[in-house]
Symmetry: C2
Subunit: 151 residues, 2 copies
């Protein structure tokens, strides 16, 4: 995980250079995304933002999120098999990297492995696809949940 403050500066710089307006709400949201503590979803970001800006709306959160996604600075993590949950986001490290998703408590941890070059080559060779990015997620039970319940 990158240093949040450094990542924050990085994001600010990118927005400035593209001449986007740095409204206080936007800056606060970017600060949250720079650390992306716990891989928050839109509602969680909204909740944290409300503490500073009681009139902020969810729509604003989504708009900024979409802006950053288009810039490739935020990664969207969709959890499947787990109904009723929205996407989670990672603005700390937008490079494709694996996630470990606990099917019990929905905790998300960053994985440290990466796909080997052989695998990428094999996939491209077999299919003829030109691979642009990928997504690798593991579903399982986190240590805490293992400790709690048997099974």
């Amino acid at each position: 995980m990158k240093d949040p403050e450094q990542r924050f500066q990085e994001l600010m710089q990118k927005l400035r250079s593209r001449e986007y307006r740095l409204t206080p709400q936007r800056v606060a949201l970017i600060r949250l995304l720079a650390s992306s503590e716990g891989h928050p979803d839109a509602a969680e970001l909204y909740r944290r933002l409300l503490e500073q800006f009681p009139t902020t709306s969810l729509a604003t959160v989504y708009k900024t999120l979409n802006l950053l996604k288009e810039m490739g600075e935020v990664l969207e993590i969709e959890i499947d098999g787990i109904g009723g949950e929205g996407s989670r986001f990672d603005g700390n490290d937008p490079t494709p990297h694996p996630h470990l998703i606990c099917v019990r408590c929905h905790r998300i941890l960053d994985g440290q492995v990466s796909l080997t070059e052989e695998i990428l080559q094999a996939v491209q060779g077999q299919s003829g696809y030109r691979v642009i990015s990928h997504r690798l997620d593991f579903y399982g039970i986190c240590p805490e949940c293992q400790a709690q319940g048997a099974n």
Copy 2:
């Protein structure tokens, strides 16, 4: 890809042994899912089902889909970064396997590679998670779309 007829029999057998009712609509849907030609979404399955049962409803498609998902006999493939599309489904092979998703035409191809045992071990070791399943999807441009447009 498994032989669709064989997979169909397999699915029928599993439903029978759990004493689910084999209504004509359900049987027809299972036949579609056994091949899962083109990794259809719910709307596509519904469309194909309508040809045989003009009064079928989307709700019924979803209900059967959920039943089979819970039984672990259908894999749900969620495409992200591509808005306005629902999940796609694979009832031919419910074992986790990679997919190649074309970001242009949304074609989905089954990948032939699988994660190495080392990667799985590494992930479990680093995180302490007990990994149950995983998901590996590649995003790129399929050969047809590469041929069409430059870039």
